[in-house]
Amino acid sequence: MSLYRLTISEARDLLLKREITVQDIVSSIFTRIDALEKKVSAFLTLTKDEAFRGAEDAQKRIDRGENKSLLGIPFAVKDNMCTRNIRTTCASKILHNFVPPYESTATTRLSAEGSVLIGKTNMDEFAMGSSTENSGVQITKNPWDLERIPGGSSGGSAAAVAADECIAALGSDTGGSIRQPASFCGVVGLKPTYGRVSRYGLVAFASSLDQIGTITKNVRDSAIIMNAIAGHDPCDSTSAPLPVPDFTAVLGRDIRGMRIGIPKEYFIEGMDREVEQAVKEAIRHLESAGAVPVEISLPHTEYAIATYYIIATSEASSNLARYDGVKYGLRNEGKDLMDMYVSTRARGFGAEVKRRIMLGTYALSSGYYDAYYKKSQQVRTLIKKDFEDAFRTVDVLITPTAPTPAFRIGEKTSDPLQMYLSDIFTISVNLAGVPALSVPCGFTSGNLPVGLQIIGKHFDEEALFRIAYAYEQGTEWRMRKPAL
């Protein structure tokens, strides 16, 4: 049996029945990694020794009769979540040697449930990008077609899950960075409601948009992880002091009568025909399962990208100011302070990060603040209101996750605007702060996965899980695996 293929629930089952040990799974994962990593390049750091030590410990706990939800499950974590004593680089040269002295809340909670970290995954530098090509270290390949990008910025996590190089992974999503790569890699990606999962220890890109979420082989695994990581954290003032339901409880509940909104602005001229077809087919499937499609409008959708690229870059310009060569990370000695600042940042940051820092600095400058940042916040309020209005009549919204399937490596790197447009369906969700999930809904003729995006009300991840699970179990897309 290829243990690396297991999902969380399957692995837990076999572990509890004592049919396999944690070491068995971890060995299988590392064998798989050894075989594939040269092709896929999903990981920036592998923590093999720690993983085997963790496996031994987890197995002892299982033998003692402990029954934590993730006990013994090998995880991959995007390299922008701080892991104590394990290098955390954000795929940036400026943090190439940064070893955090503290642990993020999300990974602390994973460990508390007994998970085993196997490595840190590649990403677009500081999570800025949609293809993982902006990594300062390496290019990750899409397991379905090694000539193509895995999406981004959580491309490493999505590729690792798709290639069975881990059982499940954490990613982060600021404008689609979990959902879009999940869609491109044929796995399940959840961006929870802003405030649902603590951001403490997540290296900030855009603080008001960033959210940690899951990348998994199926919907149930996502719900299981969410049970572990969701909930208020006193270290994150923006995390919601709300009770967390058992997200697995809604799995299997039928979706009869659920109203699914189809926003007309999300089916646009120029989108990939096969993607459109797959999504429309999925909607028909949901309808046949008893859901009620309703066409609705999110009228301010066309302003989402512009709004996003002002707010996200403004916050980023400030969040990335701390990388100055003084305290940690890269330092380029200079003849004076200014020289050190300039040369450190010139060398440490890649082109896209610099571009965004400049955009954000400009947008916040005195004299421009009102026209850009302030205006964007006003438009953001309107976009939020679009969703509130929509959710007065529907339970969830259904859209494509991305307008196209995975594109070729290098295809969009010379045109940042084209790259930004690949997030056109995911960005509004972050601006509104609502939760959304991408679930595989088919393949193109070229055997590239297509993702279906399900968007919910604030703190109603349960509706997403309910619909996604019903759809996933009613179709067979999850059975397909990339030929690696």
Binding site: N80, M81, C82, T88, C90, L95, F98, P100, P101, Y102, S104, R199, Y200, G201, L202, V203, A204, A206, S207, S208, P234, C235, D236, S237, T238, S314, E315, S317, S318, L320, A321, R322, Y323, D324, V326, K327, Y328, L337, Y341, T361, L364, S365, S366, Y369, Y373
Partner: protein
């Protein structure tokens, strides 16, 4: 009002102060590190105040309470909705590359305090009070080719108290700052220690011809960390600006630095080089909505403030205005006074002892009233001994000094040193007669009408009795026996 006369034109200064007060909280404003002054460099730091990637601030509620307390004590409106903002600039002592401060929605606004200059009372407006975090400290001395950074102070909570441009002279500015310091200490929100930098001040100053309504071009002076520096720097700046104008020049808007060594202000940066701080709302902290019940609770816990106390000292104890003003200028001093009065001291007598002998002794030993070794009840005990004739008022001064030095009670000192007053008429008469006999010539002259010789005889008696003879009895007996 210090109008500067120059030829035919009279000028007046327009001054506003920005006072930074360190709040007396045990822990920093956004993390749990200690705020203790003077520890080993960087010993009071954590990932949050060092500005590690991924950390988030959490507001210290005590700091918010202190700011509200200060606002209420200075007649401010407490904003029901307030938020933090980021002030962006690069400096090694600023670990995040931005300072968390307040900008658009400060916690307190529209207050005022009363000052007294040359017996004239006046109200000085307070524009706003906002909270912010302190920066660390760069260390350049004794560090070779490098500079070091100590982040112990980074994140210590500050209040910035901004006055209206209501001050018209350096004297008023000093009076304002002194009054503010007194209030802060009364409130227990700041220790007022200027040497340790707990209270620092920047000044905005312009001059204009008397009678003109518009303000002149203002200059900001930084680094005023003592009352004397405030006064000296403002005096210098008024002269400098007047001279520039008189010589037909123009004041340029700039930031100047007070150099206490040379006693001049020097240009630090002009308007063109002024920082663009790119303020924007801090996305890592949620806006504050302050519960009115909490405001009421703080209001009812406010101590009696200096103005009210001064008025009460006049009405309740019948003290002259000047005495009351001095005694209430420091809270511990006023408490020392009241303790003494409560244990039975006459108010005016106690006030005289404090303002005279006690202040002299404290100053001589460079001690504050809190470090005073002499307790209020010890003064009162001594005063009772004066009242009942055990010691003379003159001897009391010696006894007082002795209590101050040894901490012993008056009774014990009098016993040990044999300082009990001789009031026994028989005993004194013997001495008086002896002296008259020994100074027959002087006695004759006295009889002949040379009354000023009385002093000579009293002196002789005191010399012989080491000052212990009851002066009243000595006087009576001398008069009687000299003339008999």
């Amino acid at each position: 009002m210090a109008n500067e006369e120059t030829g035919l034109m009279k000028y007046e200064a327009v001054i506003g102060l920005e006072v930074h007060a360190q709040m007396r909280t045990d822990t920093k404003i956004f993390c749990g590190c200690s705020t203790l002054f003077g520890s080993e460099p960087n010993s009071q730091t954590c990932p949050v105040c060092i500005g590690m990637p991924g950390v988030l601030p959490v507001l210290n509620k005590k700091a918010l309470g202190f700011a509200i307390r200060t606002g209420l004590a200075t007649d401010c409106t407490i904003s029901p909705y307030s938020r933090f903002a980021r002030k962006n600039y690069f400096y090694p002592d600023l670990p995040k590359g931005y300072q968390i401060s307040q900008y658009e929605l400060p916690i307190c606004e529209h207050g005022q305090i009363e000052i007294l200059v040359d017996g004239q009372a006046g109200k000085i407006g307070i524009t706003r009070i906002h909270m912010e975090e302190d920066a660390g400290k760069n260390i350049h001395e004794g560090t070779g080719d490098f500079s070091f950074v100590d982040l112990n102070r980074a994140g210590v909570p500050l209040m910035e108290i901004v006055s209206e441009p209501d001050l018209r002279s350096p004297q008023e500015a000093v009076a304002y700052m002194k009054k503010l310091r007194t209030i802060l200490i009364y409130l227990g929100v700041c220790d007022g220690n200027m040497e340790q930098g707990s209270l620092r001040c920047d000044a905005n100053i312009s001059v204009r011809p008397v009678g003109r309504q518009e303000f002149g071009v203002k200059v900001e002076i930084k680094n005023l960390n003592s009352f004397r520096f405030v006064e000296k720097a403002l005096e210098y700046e008024i002269k400098r600006q007047r001279k520039v104008i008189e010589e037909g020049g123009k004041i340029i808007q700039e930031t100047r630095l007070w150099d206490s060594g040379s006693g001049v202000t020097e240009s630090m940066r002009g308007k063109e080089e002024a920082h663009d701080y790119r303020y924007f709302p801090e996305p890592d902290l949620v806006p504050m909505t302050v519960d009115p019940a909490w405001i009421n609770e703080i209001q009812s816990s406010l101590p009696e403030l200096p103005d009210a106390k001064r008025e009460r000292f006049v009405s309740e104890y019948g003290l002259p205005e000047a005495d009351a003003d001095l005694l209430t200028s420091e809270k511990p001093l006023s408490e020392w006074f009241e303790d003494a009065v409560k244990t039975g001291g006459g108010p005016k007598t106690v006030a005289n002892w404090i303002m005279g002998d006690l202040m002299k002794l404290l100053n001589a030993e460079n001690k504050t009233i809190e470090e005073c070794p002499l307790q209020p009840h010890q003064l009162v005990d001594m005063l009772k001994l004066v009242e009942n004739g055990t010691i003379s008022g003159k001897i009391a001064k010696t006894v007082f000094e002795e209590i101050f030095r040894t901490g012993k009670n008056a009774g014990a000192i009098i016993q040990e040193q044999g300082l009990v007053q001789i009031s026994d008429a028989g005993e004194i008469e013997k001495i008086v007669d002896e002296i008259i006999a020994n100074h027959a010539k002087e006695a004759e002259r006295f009889k002949a009408g040379e009354e000023k010789l009385m002093g000579f005889f009293v002196g002789q008696v005191m010399k012989l009795t080491k000052g212990k003879a009851n002066p009243q009895v000595v006087n009576e007996l001398l008069k009687k026996n000299l003339l008999s």
